[in-house]
Symmetry: C2
Subunit: 201 residues, 2 copies
DNA sequence: ACTTTACGAAACGAGCCCGTTGCGTATCGG
DNA sequence: CCGATACGCAACGGGCTCGTTTCGTAAAGT
């Protein structure tokens, strides 16, 4: 070898700018948050927004979908802390987190993409599900399983079905209701009604 | 007046072709059903699909949104017949109708538009809600009200909340689950669990 | 016949975005 | 200093869609 090996095989020349990389990913999320669908999203617009040449983008991602996938991957999805005191309390915390997400327009748009472009961009949807949906869903599953174990819930409860039943109503509200219907007490009302059932006692 | 008035003020010249009009609206729905978002939808593509000149389209609609609105208006949304024997039975029928809709890809795409482009095209969403969502929702409200009246359901039930709780889980399944999860018994399972509640008896 | 309007087809200039290339500059290792 | 690579910027040719216009033809009333 003529070059001094440093072990990590550092290539010669100017290293890629991490700042540019971050700017590109942020610009992508910005534009998505402003309502761009994946198809309308243009490399030129991303470059302009990021203050970056198109070259810099094409050097890193060969196509738009890969870029969007990486951008979505940077979305933190902190699962809210659950006290574990009661199933009811934990479910309300999870629902409240969904409600607050829905009130942020950028989050709404990301959700839009996840719901509407899932057919056309399956990779993208898969990534989104893994980083954004699945952690929260798993958290809810654990809450429900704990409830089954300690007798708060029915012993033969279908956990996956229950997850959909708890989450579904909030999704309905976030998508098809006016924002003013997303009142503060909505999580509590949903959880209480779902736990109690609609039938007469 | 030099012209013989016929009362209905029929304009002179060749009348517009109803066949062309129908072809345009059908082509629009076709393309939407194939996955086009409203933004990707092009007048040229619609004209080509309909076997029609662009002129014929522009003569009738001044912009794309108006055209799509009219196209959605042609969608029949037959609310399924409800026997009225029991709340449970009627709800299952309504859920089954949603399930069957979700299995048709063209219906899925229409739903996609309704959910994801509602922010960008409020008129469009409003129309869709009026012709597709509201009739079914109202049907469900009636079922629930009847259930409250005859004692099947809780006397102080919040009807609108209950509608979301019943519908939500099916929406979750239609959007975020594999098609094979849309099993035949899903409507029954959802309705029974929702009526009974998750809590221990 | 004659007017009037609609029809399908084709072409227009304009604008946007594509993916690529060349340019001069900046930043790294050696 | 030198070679190598990345940077931002501008420009390229090509493609697509826009909304409009022109053309010759078709279908109605008078």
């Amino acid at each position: 070898m003529s070059t001094t090996e440093t072990g990590t095989a550092r290539p010669a020349g100017r290293p890629r700018s991490e700042k540019a990389e971050k700017a590109i990913l942020e610009a992508t999320l910005d534009l998505i948050g402003e309502g761009s669908g994946v198809t309308e999203l243009t490399i030129e617009a991303i470059a302009a927004r990021a203050g970056v040449g198109k070259t810099t983008i094409y050097r890193r991602w060969s196509n738009k979908e890969d870029l969007v996938v990486d951008a979505l991957a940077t979305l933190k999805s902190p699962v809210p802390h659950l006290s574990g005191e009661s199933v009811r309390g934990d479910l309300i915390v999870l629902m409240e987190a969904m409600r607050l997400d829905a009130l942020q327009s950028d989050r709404r748009c990301v959700m839009n993409i996840a719901m509407s472009e899932s057919d056309r961009y399956p990779h993208l949807f898969e990534k989104f599900r893994r980083i954004a949906i699945e952690p929260r869903r798993e958290a809810m599953r654990q809450v429900l399983r704990r409830g089954v174990a300690n007798g708060e819930l029915q012993p033969d409860l279908d956990i996956d079905l229950a997850v959909q039943i708890v989450s579904g109503p909030m999704v309905m509200f976030t998508r098809w209701a006016d924002p003013e219907d997303l009142t503060e007490d909505l999580p509590r009302r949903i959880v209480d009604q779902v736990l109690a059932g609609l039938g007469r006692k």
